[in-house]
Structures are given as structure tokens and as C-alpha cells.
Amino acid sequence: MTSRDEDINSILKSSSQINRFKDFLKRLIHHRKGLAGIIIIASLVLIAIIGIFFAPYNPFSTNAAAFQPPSKSHILGTDYLGEDVLSWFLIGTGTSLMVGFSIAVLSAIIGVLVGVIAGYFGGQVDNVLMRVVDILLVIPGFPLLVILSAFLPPTLETTIFVLSILSWPFLSRVIRAQTLSLKQRQYILASKLSGLSGFKIISRDIIPNLIPIIFINAIFLAVGGVVAQAGLAFFGLGDLRSVNWGTMLYWFEAEDGIVFNAWWWLLPPGLGIVAFGIGANFLGNAVYELSQPLRSGKQ
């Protein structure tokens, strides 16, 4: 094959992939749950962007009175130091989403690599990797997170790192099972016979076919990451001066928001987490339904 042929081939291939992606997006928007999921998550992203540019106050400014219920100047009231809850929420949404997406990307990379390698190469490699996965799945996750976070420096990066290295085992099992079944297909056999190396087959023939599954799992990893980071912050771990949904709840608990009946301080971060979870569930289910060939288009 000449180099010109290869160029044409690659152009054809990429344009067809873009078309397939566009087509998939179109179907997703026409899917009821898919649309709902996209709208919810997009609104949260919008809130985060508003938080970056238009937060009404500096979240650490303490000029107002403490524990003020919602009013015109402070739409969501103030916290124990007189800090503006709305500003905390707007800015915190961005931080929490960023944490969730980082964890989703990092742990999806680890999970996919481990799963594909274990499934494709099999044998001793598979055995060792899956034993590691088994042990990580058996050890109760939260206490393990707590002990690691307690000994590592209390920064947001540490929390992302710890959550990423502990969140992938379930995904790797799913990917391994899928890889095992893909491995039996004719076209993989053809690639093997044509002399392609294992890593080329993995990157060209296997991973592209797993993208819907990886995407669905990454969405749930993001939700799990947001909830787990909030839980860790609530437990007093990580960077407690970072502005996010988890630290809002931590300070509410630590500074007796309950005693002051400060519902305006308690509701926003929790509702943010719940909205993100519901949006992700809708989107994940929609992608799942659309990626099943037999049931595609089911609303």
C-alpha cells in the first residue's frame, strides 16, 4: 500500500467515526432519558461556569452576620462565619464536578488498561491482575480511603489520586469480560493472522468497540467520585479549606448548623450531589439502551 492510499484510508476512517458519533449524539438527544440527563448535567456545568465568573461574593469574605436565613443580599443565607452560601455553592459545584471528572478519567484509564490486558493476554498476567482486583473489591472501600487519606498530605490532589487508584476494580472486571468475548470474533483473528502486535490489536480493534461501555462506567465513576470525595471531606479528610460540596457539609456538621436550623446551608450541596447522580443515571441508561443493537431507539 502506498502512503497516499494510507492517507485516504485514514481520512475515510476518521470521517466515518465522526459521522457515527454525530449520529449517536442525535439519537441521544431524541431519547427521553438521554435528553433529561444531558440537560441536568449541562445545568450543573452552567452553575459551575457562573460560579467562576459571577459569584456574588468572595466565599471567604465574612462581612455579613453569621447564620442569616436567605434574604435579598444573600439569596441562600450565610454560614457560621457570615460567608455567603450561594457563592460557596456556585464555586463548590465547579470544584466537585472537576474532582468527579478527574477521578472518572484517571480510574477509567487504569480500569480499561488492566481489564484489556488481563482479558487479551490471559494466563498468569490475567491471574495476578484479577487476584489484585478481588482483594481490592473485598476490602471495605471507605475505611481504606480513610486510612490512606489520613496518612497522605491533605490536599485535593491527594483525594483525587487516592480515589482514582481505588475506584477502577469493578470497571476492569467488566472490560475483561468484554475483551474475552471480543477476542473470539473473526475480525480479531484476522488481525492476528495478518501479524499485528497485541498492543495494536488492543488499541485499534478492541478498545474502540468498548467505548460505549467505558463511557457508561466513567459516568458512574464520576458520580461515585463526587460522593466519595464529599464523604471524605465530611469525615474531616482532605483539604477542608477547598470550596466544594463536601466541605460545605463538613463545616455545617462541625459548626453545629443543625442547632441553628440552618437548612439553607444544608440543602444546596446535597441537592447538587443528588442532581448529579440522577442526571448521570439518566445519561448512562440512555447510552446503554442506545448501544444495544436490538433495542436501539427504544424510548
Binding site: 476490602i139 471495605p140 480511603l145 480513610v146 486510612i147 458520580v223 460522593v227 469525615f235 474531616g236 443528588v274
Partner: protein, 332 residues
Amino acid sequence: MITLRYIVRRVAYMLLTIYIAATLDFLLPRMVPGNPALIILITKYAGEFNPNQLKIIEGELNLRGTLWQQYVGYLGSIIHGNLGPSYYYYPESVTQIIITRLPWTLFLLGTAMIISVVIGVIIGSYSGWKRGYSDSFLQAFSIGLTSLPYFWLALIFQLVFAVMLVINGQHLFPVAQAYSINVHQGFNLRFIESVLHHAALPLITLIITTFPGFALLMRNTVVTVLDEDYLVLAKAKGLSINTIRKRYVNKNAMLPVSTSIALAFASIVGGAFLVEEVFSYPGIGYTLFTAVTVSDYPLIEGIFLVITLTVILANFAVDLIYAYLDPRVVLK
């Protein structure tokens, strides 16, 4: 059927997991700079101590000798059930602290798990059998509930039922603790009543967030079982709907639910810990929270080890029960 080989392999595997958890416990504090023995002396005795005391505490913490000697010493003391002294509660030992706190956590976890499974099985069976509205309601309900953070729900319940709502000049539920200070601890009616009253909100929080998972699984397996050939036979035999439902559908559909209990255990522990923190419930979750706040590393490590052991044993027990319930299962 359970073979001896299975039990031996499984026990070996549990020992390996515990060994890994213990090694993690050993390595983590040694990666952090500073001498822990000095920390105890400085916080407890405000720096007024003699070198002998330092040596004694270093011994208790397995800080003497080479790293390898420390490691062997550490594993040895764990085997003897000795988890070392707590920094914060010194000279009380970590083992003593955990023994007094663990029963409260087991009580919460066990009760919440049993009630969640029962509710989940009943609702799931009904929804899978009837389909239609109850089905879509269950789906929407469980999606909403599974994304609820346990501790946030606990805070809401605490705010509404223990602070805001006042009936006849009294709050509906206590804000914190496991029993009222006015009652005598022991086996008497007032104590039990007080314990249940205090456990109500933590339990409701855990149950509400745990049962939808079981309900959804039960519903899905009921739907699968309804397609089985043996149900056609049962109908052809003219058995009553009730008999078919109880003896054919529910019995078979409950099996996958019982395996999922094991996985649910590992995740409900985190929820229970956070709920304990909210209600200052004196179990090991609240103790862990306190330990984190005061950097009591030996106590953090000890709790990690004990809760890992507890979860592993619970999983093992569930597997054995499963094999006993379903004769088709062969654990070898």
C-alpha cells in the same frame, strides 16, 4: 455443596487479605515523618518525661530495631490481638477501645441489612410480578435514592425529626448518642427502649438508602424467573397463583439477592460510618472520625484492620449460607 478444598482455599485467601491490610497498616505510618512515641509523650505529658518512658512507648509501638524486626514484631502482636496503644486515649489500648465500640456498629449494620433485605425482597417481588406503574415507580425511586449521599440524608432527618419537629413540647427523636444518660445500662426495658429510640434515625437512614438496590435486583430476577419453563409446568398443573408465587417464583428469585448481600456489606460500612458521625453514635465509625480529627494513627489502623476482618467474615458466612440454600451451587 461445599468441599473441604473450597474452605481451605477460602480461608487462605482471607488470611492473605488480612495480611495485606496489616502490611498496609505497618507501612503507612512509617512513611510519615516524625517519631510517634514522641507525639504521645508530648501530647499526653506536655514534654515532661524521662528517656525511659520514651523507650517503653517505642517498644509498645514496635518502633525498636530494624524495619524487618519491627515488621515481625508488629505481625506477632496482631496475631495476639494486640493493636498497640492509642495516642489519644493512652494508656488505653486500641483493642480495648474497639471491643467496647464494635458491638454498636454491628448492631446498626446487622439490623439495617436484615430489614433492607426483607423490604427489598417484598417490594421487588411485588413490582416484578405486577409490572406496570409500581414497576416504573420503583425504578424512579431507586435511581433517586441510590444517588442520595447517606450522610446528607442523615443530616436532613436529624434536622427535621430531632430538631425542627416538636410535638407536645418534645422532640420526636434524640439528636445524638446511642442511649439516654438517665437509664441504667443493662438488660432492662427502659434501656432497650432508649437504645431503639436512639437507633431509629440512623437505622432509617441506612435502610432507605440500602433497600432499593435489593428491590431492583429482586424485581429483575423475578422477571427472569417468570419466563422459566418450570413456571409453565406449574401453571399447567393448575397450582394456585399464591403457591406459584411463593414456592416457585420468590424462592428462586431470592438466591441472587442473597449473593448480593456480600457486596452490599462492603459499601454499607462506609455509609454506617458517616451516619454514626452525624448522630455521634458510639460505634467504631464515630471512633474512627474522632481518631482522624486528633491524628490517632494506631486507632485508625486498628479500626481499618478490624472492619476489614469483619466484612471478610460476613462475606464468607453469606457464601456458606448461599451454598446451603441452593443445592445446585458447588463451592469447590
